[in-house]
């Protein structure tokens, strides 16, 4: 009662995340000082920027007159190659990802398998697509095969990790109920785990398809085939209008995929 008396009339504030005031202030001042110091190191050559603006303008203006016709056969061939690369690498990557994701979920896999699968994921995620592509182009030569392998490899790291997290956060009791019926392991996965993670798997797969398509446009820059190769050539020849046409097609396809993913995810909820 007397304790309450001392509390009444005092303002209340949410306790600070960092309890010690000196540490809190030191961190805030340190951050501000770093921000200022970092800003001062940026070296901008303003006359160069002024010249560059002209080139940037040309590039952007090219979008008002995109040239689909002059290189239409190149664009078409590159686009088909990219789409084939995207679909093939997504299918293969996802197929490999699913067993790895099962192994990388701590709640269903024993420790040794968990560690192996997590290592595979870590390796796949640590190696950036461009680096893998350069390596694979060196091994397999220029062309879409290197791109396909790169994207499959990248898909494994992405999809396995996120799917494994989906499995780890599933409802344990539903899976327990299936186990209690005397189901074998494969049946348990099929009835107790799969229905719970299916919407997530489908959502992630479509998202990865989308990423793979965009990546396929980049990988061409290092010689791994696809529309990126066509785009690179257009830039090298300063054919900004052709490049603009290619970029517009890429944007359209990504938007279409985005729309498609929305429709499909609404259906499978």
């Amino acid at each position: 009662m007397s304790e309450l008396h001392t509390l009444i009339g005092k303002p209340w504030r949410k306790p600070s995340f960092i309890k010690r005031p000196w540490l809190r202030w030191a961190l805030m001042l340190g951050f501000a000082a770093y921000l200022i110091a970092a800003y001062m190191t940026i070296d901008v050559n303003w006359s160069r920027v002024y010249e560059g603006l002209e080139r940037g303008k040309k590039f952007i203006l090219a979008f008002t007159s995109p040239d689909f016709t002059t290189r239409s056969s190149d664009i078409y061939a590159g686009m088909v190659e990219s789409i084939i690369m995207t679909i093939a690498s997504s299918v293969v990557g996802i197929a490999i990802s699913i067993p790895i994701a099962l192994g990388a979920a701590r709640n269903i896999a024993p420790l040794p398998i968990y560690l192996i699968c997590r290592s595979i994921i870590a390796i796949s995620r640590a190696l950036q697509e461009i680096i893998v592509a350069i390596l694979l182009v060196a091994i397999f030569g220029f062309g879409p095969l290197a791109g396909f392998l790169t994207l499959s490899f990248a898909t494994i790291g992405f999809l396995s990790k996120l799917l494994a997290e989906g499995i780890e956060s599933m409802d344990k009791v539903q899976a327990e109920a299936i186990k209690a019926s005397g189901a074998r392991w494969t049946q348990w996965i099929n009835y107790g785990v799969q229905p719970q993670v299916m919407p997530r798997l489908i959502g992630l797969s479509i998202y990865r398809l989308d990423i793979n398509f965009r990546e396929s446009a980049i990988l061409g820059l290092v010689g791994a085939g696809g529309i990126g190769a066509t785009l690179n050539t257009a830039f090298d020849r300063y054919e900004y209008d052709t490049a603009a046409a290619i970029l517009m097609i890429i944007i359209l396809i990504v938007m279409a995929l985005e729309y498609l993913s929305g429709v499909i995810r609404a259906r499978v909820q």
Binding site: E176, I178, K179, S181, P195
Partner: protein
């Protein structure tokens, strides 16, 4: 039919959930397991079908010792133990029929279950059970479209289609309204009688337990404090199980009309 000998469960955290529990359940007996939260009721039930691995002690189902069975043999024995869960534990994105048929998983091969091609007699039995609990028309609905009481009925069908010898029932009425709770308890006890099943029912509601079961076990801090008929639950006994409280209202014979009026 079910026999527990010195069953001990110690969790990794060091908490001793069960302290040398001894229990003998004869064929066809329905017993209620009561006790405060954390007394080890859920752990006890889950130790029997080894969803929770007991630390020591033995469990016999008939002549088979369940403790120490290999994974394959354990699966075979789990078929003889149907389990009904708190919050139903239906796989929500599967249909009612798939949920019921999942009780047969221990009997059919992987590909049959994967392609949902269950033997005709399993499908017939599923319809018979669903009809018995009044849900035959719901077979192709998805489980998450059902109300709480309906879900628990599906859960009961899933347990019974295993053709078990024993039902393990974990808080079947915890999230149901008073009337549905009674209906579910009545249904479980009727079905046990029809089929001559033994059942262990974890339950918080002492009055509800008294209404339906033949025997009550009181658990406190992982040890059996009371073992007797339902009318042996005097205020003194409840005090030893749960601690000091005024028990008169809890165990006074509940009048049907009174509950009806209260709803």
């Amino acid at each position: 039919m079910l026999r527990l000998e010195k069953l001990v469960k110690t969790y990794k955290t060091g908490d001793q959930a069960l302290k040398a529990v001894e229990l003998n359940v004869p064929e066809g007996q329905v017993l209620a397991l009561i006790g405060p939260s954390g007394a080890g009721k859920s752990t006890l039930i889950r130790c029997i079908n080894r969803l929770v691995e007991p630390t020591s002690g033995r469990i016999y189902l008939g002549d088979v010792e369940l403790t120490g069975l290999s994974q394959g043999n354990l699966r075979r024995e789990r078929r003889r133990m149907g389990m009904i869960f708190q919050e139903y534990a239906l796989v929500e994105r599967l249909s009612v029929m798939e949920n019921v048929l999942s009780g047969r998983l221990g009997y059919v091969g992987f590909w049959r279950s994967f392609l949902r091609r269950f033997p005709q007699k399993d499908v017939d039995e599923a319809f018979r059970l669903l009809d018995r609990v009044g849900l035959a028309h719901m077979a192709d609905k998805r489980a998450d479209e059902l109300s709480g009481g309906q879900r628990q009925r599906v859960g009961i069908c899933r347990a019974l289609i295993q053709n078990p010898a024993l039902l393990l029932v974990d808080e079947p009425t915890a999230s149901l309204d008073p009337k549905t709770s009674r209906q579910i308890m009545r249904l479980i006890c009727e079905l046990c009688k029809e089929r001559g099943l033994a059942a262990i029912i974890n339950i918080h509601d002492v009055a509800l337990a008294q209404m339906f079961v033949q025997r009550v076990i009181g658990l406190r801090f992982g040890a059996v404090e009371f073992d007797g008929p339902p009318d042996g639950l005097t205020p003194d006994v409840l005090t030893t199980i749960y601690g000091e409280e005024d028990w008169e209202a809890t165990i006074a014979p509940v009048d049907e009309d009174e509950v009806e009026a209260a709803e």
